[in-house]
């Protein structure tokens, strides 16, 4: 699947549904739950932070090779590596836990790999999960 959304402002759920309806997605519900979560967290991050005015694009690609699903999200927004963020301290008490900051952590934990590159002026996030 290859899809381009431009501009992306306000399209978070439309982009998520487009990726989740890709023919490359598995049928297994448990896997779909994890993939939806990973896609939501990654897409939301881009829609909210890539472009200060929301006026920019996002390209989503999915493919399967040797039983591994790859989801690639690219944007030309502010260079930003979401993987630079430190993992949350999950041992803190409820009083001490900060609100938020769990999205990309969940994406990393639920997928087999999440990689970031800055190529040709674009942010490129590649999410991989074995589905067969």
């Amino acid at each position: 699947m290859h899809k381009r959304f431009d501009p992306i402002e306000g399209l978070t759920s439309i982009i998520i549904e487009a990726v989740m309806s890709s023919e490359d997605m598995p049928a297994d519900e448990g896997l779909l739950f994890k993939l939806r979560l990973a896609v939501e967290e990654a897409v939301e991050n881009i829609v909210n932070y890539a472009y200060s005015d929301g006026a920019g694009y996002l390209e989503a690609d999915t493919s399967v090779k040797d039983g591994v699903l790859s989801i690639v999200l690219q944007d030309a927004g502010v260079p930003f590596n979401p993987l630079d963020k430190e993992d949350p301290d999950i041992t803190l008490s409820a009083e001490d836990r900060p609100i938020g900051g769990l999205g990309i952590f969940l994406c990393k934990k639920l997928m087999d790999s999440v990689e970031y590159e800055f190529v040709n002026g674009c942010n490129k996030l590649t999410i991989r999960k074995r589905i067969a």
Binding site: T12, S13, I16, F33, P88, T91, A94, E95, I99, L106
Partner: protein, 100 residues
Amino acid sequence: MNVTINQKGHAYEVVLEGRLDTTTAPKFQEDITPLMQVSKAEIIVDCAKLEYTSSQGLRLFLMLQKSVLKNGGSLVMKNMSAAVKEVFDITGFSNIITIQ
């Protein structure tokens, strides 16, 4: 997502149905904001029909937990699916929110 809140005295039963995600979280936040002001609220969240939660849902459950601790109430989440429970386990939320 459907949110139903049944109140009996200090007891509040919050029944969730559907997907708690980036689209539905703002409405859920509106629904539970009044509960965060109640003193000694005993809140039970029934997750039997909660199909999914993203980090947007988690942040609201944490806000609710913080509010009951501050207001002398309690929060119990019950009937969680294995998939939703896994999200709570991975993020350490199973240790800070009572799950039955």
